[in-house]
Symmetry: C2
């Protein structure tokens, strides 16, 4: 088992990564300080619950915990205030009290929503994350919890740290292949940000990662979580440094918004976005090998790196203007300086971004 | 002008109490650190907005602030997730960004809801409170923000401190007389908890307080806020000591729940509750003069101290059992030891509480 400690003063917590952790869930709940006298609420979705919930409930009940579960429809559409209210109703009806805790069993959607419930039920109760996707390695570090508003994603939320994160690698075996690759996009992103060696390691071990080899995957998730924990530890409430985590996300979010959520998965959209950031870097005078290497890494992981021609540049630009990453009208981009190092560049010209989008559609590069 | 500093480390903030503060609102917003480049959202209600909002907006705009306002229907029913979502929609449509702030212009309902919006819009933006009721002196200290769930009051919320509280005493002149008395119930509560002299002072200056004499009211609100700030400063997240603030609230909440909200105003319900706590004290062996003096203070402030006979003891007991103040099934009461001093008593017998309720309906006391 691998352990990463997310160091946030009195809100610090451990991330445990390994095989077979779920059968010891009661032990971990006790370690997290959850009392058997207060009901636990497990939040999961319709894809994950049938596979892993019965065993989880059984393991908890046989150790004296009272458990109630709320299963939401799988998919991003459930990350809404309406579902949030339904989960709150379940929590109240089950008699959750101030010593209770919420367990999020699922991917980032379940984690974000259940975390916002935990953050705001009686002004905050216990929270334990059990991520079942690779992408959720990202959402399990940093304490960002949220639901979407019909007008904008992740608009309503809080910063709320879990007591513990349990990453049981066995649950990843049932993840569809596209979801695996999508999650690995965020893993390699963490390498691109601050760890050159790890970024190339991901490329060189792409096959084992896509095959969910426990050794490789455990290491990749450990590094991914550790890098994110490091960035977040230096900037818990996103005042500055933490913004680098948005590498590829400005363009990626625009692609998701314009194409409709689910056409490209989140990791796929930000893979295109990361390719775009590397193109932008070239335009700003950085070495073109950054682009070439970024693309080779993403391609090795079966991720897309080109923008389909049907995406309209005007619509994408519009979507970016509405993106909350623009403070007071200025456009900010995270731009790679080399593999494993990035800068936050403010005042990026709109015309330059537009050029990048146009070139992202083409096979050939201008150099 | 009177200033109280709520001391919470890097979340500390000042409460300013005085006449004519609102005309300088732009100055205070600048002092709170709000930028003119990011829109401000004023949340108010249908009673308060027609009286004070136009001048407030004008004062802000003439100093270069962009302002958008959301006016909700006056009353507790607006403290709901549905209205919360509406305010969020207004905020997004107005383009509020991470440097924006929410201004709550109104009583506790507006303050609690607007505060929860501020706490959760983009995971937290600026928040400034402009309380326009006396009761809101209580909600403006402590950072508790919330909305109600149909099944339980204040169930959904957060701890979120404002940047500043502006108490303009002039706005209190239009407050209906019953609301004035109701607010004074929480003021005298703060005296009953920790300040004997202040509690008797309230009784002796009851007439000036009910008349909204600026000198007396300014002093009473200053003491009320300062006492609450002191309690909260020692226990920001309600782990222990802060529970004393619930004096009179267990019975009071049950009265509100059983009678229907609005039959008794909150302060009226907790006045009966505080009389009940003093009766409970007598039953637990404390001096009966505590009860006599408590009742004389509340009566001087035109507050009720008897439970109307139509309130059913079984229903009240039921409501108390559902009250979130009961941890893991045990009944906890805040019990006065003398005027200006209280204890947290766990394991209060259900039968004793039932006796108190029965006696609260009678004119005569058993001694
Ligand atoms: N909080 C953060 O810091 C943060 C960071 C990144 C992403 N996110 C959020 O995370 C969400 C995306 O996360 P995600 O990709 O995990 O989405 P997801 O939770 O929707 O999971 C993807 C799909 O896989 C299914 N699934 C999950 N685990 C499975 C398993 N073990 N076996 C089979 N199927 C399984 C789900 O039911 C779903 O259909 C987005 O809402 C995004 O905003 C949050
Ligand atoms: N957050 C906390 O710590 C805390 C503490 C105590 C109470 N509360 C909450 O506060 C709420 C009650 O507060 P409240 O009594 O101020 O209720 P309120 O906001 O509903 O105000 C009472 C009534 O007076 C009207 N009003 C307000 N100011 C006025 C003015 N200046 N002139 C004329 N009319 C005016 C309002 O429109 C409303 O109809 C409850 O929801 C309670 O849960 C919160
Ligand atoms: Zn992402
Ligand atoms: Zn109260």
């Amino acid at each position: 088992m691998r352990t990463i400690n997310v160091d946030l003063g009195d809100r610090s917590y451990p991330i445990l990564i390994g095989s077979g952790l779920l059968k010891d869930i009661a032990h971990y709940c006790a370690e997290a300080g959850f009392s058997e006298r207060s009901p636990l609420l497990v939040v999961s979705d319709t894809e994950v619950a049938p596979r892993y919930l019965p065993a989880l409930e059984e393991a908890l009940r046989s150790h004296g915990y009272t458990v109630v579960s709320h299963i939401m429809t799988a998919g991003e559409a459930s990350k809404s205030l309406a579902v949030y209210e339904e989960v709150m109703t379940t929590a109240i009806q089950a008699g959750l009290d101030r010593n209770s805790a919420v367990l999020a069993l699922g991917g980032g959607v379940v984690g974000d929503l259940a975390g916002f419930v935990a953050a705001t039920y009686m002004r905050g109760i216990g929270f334990l994350q059990i991520p079942t996707t690779i992408l959720a390695h990202d959402s399990s570090v940093g304490g960002k919890v949220a639901v979407n508003h019909p007008l904008a994603k992740n608009m309503i939320g809080a910063f709320y740290q879990p007591s513990m994160v349990l990453y049981d690698l066995d649950t990843l075996r049932t993840l569809p292949a596209r979801q695996v690759a999508s999650g690995l996009a965020e893993v390699v992103k963490h390498g691109l940000l601050v760890d050159k060696e790890f970024a190339y390691w991901c490329r060189d071990h792409a096959e084992e990662l896509l095959d969910l080899n426990v050794e490789a995957l455990g290491y990749a998730l450990e590094r991914g979580c550790a890098i994110k924990a490091d960035v977040v530890g230096n900037d818990e409430r996103e005042h500055g440094l933490r913004a680098i985590l948005n590498l590829g996300h400005t363009i990626g979010h625009a692609i998701e918004a314009v194409g409709g959520y689910g056409v490209f998965l989140h990791g796929e959209a930000i893979a295109i976005g990361m390719a775009g950031s590397a193109l932008l870097a070239a335009k700003l005078g950085r070495d073109t090998s950054i682009y070439e290497d970024t693309v080779s890494m993403l391609s090795a992981l079966s991720l897309p790196v080109r923008l389909p021609s049907e995406y309209d540049e005007d619509e994408l630009m519009d979507a970016m203007m509405h993106d909350k990453k623009f403070k007071e009208g200025k456009m900010t981009f995270i731009v790679p300086d080399s593999i494993g190092s990035v800068s936050i560049v403010n005042d990026v010209q709109e015309s330059l971004v537009r050029e990048v989008l146009a070139e992202l559609k083409k096979e050939e590069r201008p150099w």
